[in-house]
């Protein structure tokens, strides 16, 4: 068991994100109410996804430079956990939106149809589908080296597509989702100081948890590769 310092940090920060996130005071906003606390969970999923995708593209570039299959295993594992966190971010966003944007008891809120046209939602869906295609592409190539090379190149393309689909296009179009005129949750003027105290540790905690799961996947895959090679001989 390798319980290193960063795994302990992840556990401590996540415990703090839950306790502090649910109990510490938050600003009172009419439309959001207590749901503002979702910032510590829903938004963190997307931040962790971005960081894990960044690690994944770095590993893909390393693979293309060195040709070492270990980097390919790392790239696919980080991309897999990142996509999973993105799906969780999408699911939690759907729950959050259904109580803040689409409340049927309040006619001032938008209709379901306009939520379906949300540029941020569509952009995030495109980004996740592009990463979904990454896994389909991988599983369609049987040759190991070819699969690693083609999917490493595709991963760079997928990462490049992430920026227009989740950062640029949603900023150009009107949206109910916060953060159209800046960096949501990063802008020092629009995030309350009390929330920042929990939000930043929460981002680090969730990212470390994702990295922990990814390292388990990597170690498992490397073991499987070794087993496969010894069986071949």
């Amino acid at each position: 068991m390798r319980l290193t310092w960063w795994k302990i940090t992840a556990i401590v920060l996540l415990a703090y994100a839950v306790i502090g996130g649910l109990l510490l005071p938050v600003p009172e906003l009419t439309q959001l109410g207590e749901t503002i606390r979702n910032l510590y969970y829903h938004v963190c999923m997307w931040f962790a996804m971005m960081i894990l995708f960044t690690v994944s593209i770095i590993q893909s570039i390393k693979y293309l430079r060195t040709g070492s299959i270990e980097h390919d295993i790392k790239a696919v594992s980080y991309a897999g956990v990142g996509t999973y966190l993105g799906l969780l971010g999408y699911a939690t966003g759907a729950i959050w939106a259904s109580f803040t944007w689409a409340d049927p008891n309040n006619p001032a809120f938008a209709s379901f149809g306009s939520i379906m046209r949300e540029p941020k939602l569509i952009g995030a869906a495109i980004a996740l589908l592009i990463y979904g295609a990454y896994f389909i592409l991988r599983s369609s190539i049987t040759d190991m080296d070819q699969r690693a090379r083609v999917s490493a190149v595709y991963n760079i393309f997928a990462y490049a597509m992430l920026f227009p689909s989740i950062w640029i296009i949603p900023r150009l179009l009107p949206s109910l989702h916060p953060g159209q005129e800046g960096n949501p949750a990063l802008n020092f003027n629009d995030i309350d100081a009390r929330m920042r105290m929990v939000f930043y540790p929460a981002v680090i905690g969730w990212t470390l948890l994702g990295a922990w799961i990814a390292t388990l996947k990597i170690r498992h895959k490397i073991l499987m590769e070794k087993k496969w090679f010894t069986n071949e001989k």
Partner: protein, 70 residues
Amino acid sequence: MKNKLIAFIVSLGIFAANAQAETTNDSMASLMRSNGKIYVVVAVVLTILFGLIAYLIQLDRKISKLEKEA
């Protein structure tokens, strides 16, 4: 096994603290501006979180064991 035990003890402790808070301290309810008992939610979420982390630790140990054998 040890980790499971630790997670269990931690969650028990949280529940015990929660039970006390409910009987002696009513200000927690006003703190949340809702119908109170938020500590129940905290205990539940923490139990799930620590349960998942215990599972991860277990997986980690199993993989470490396999790595030593390989």
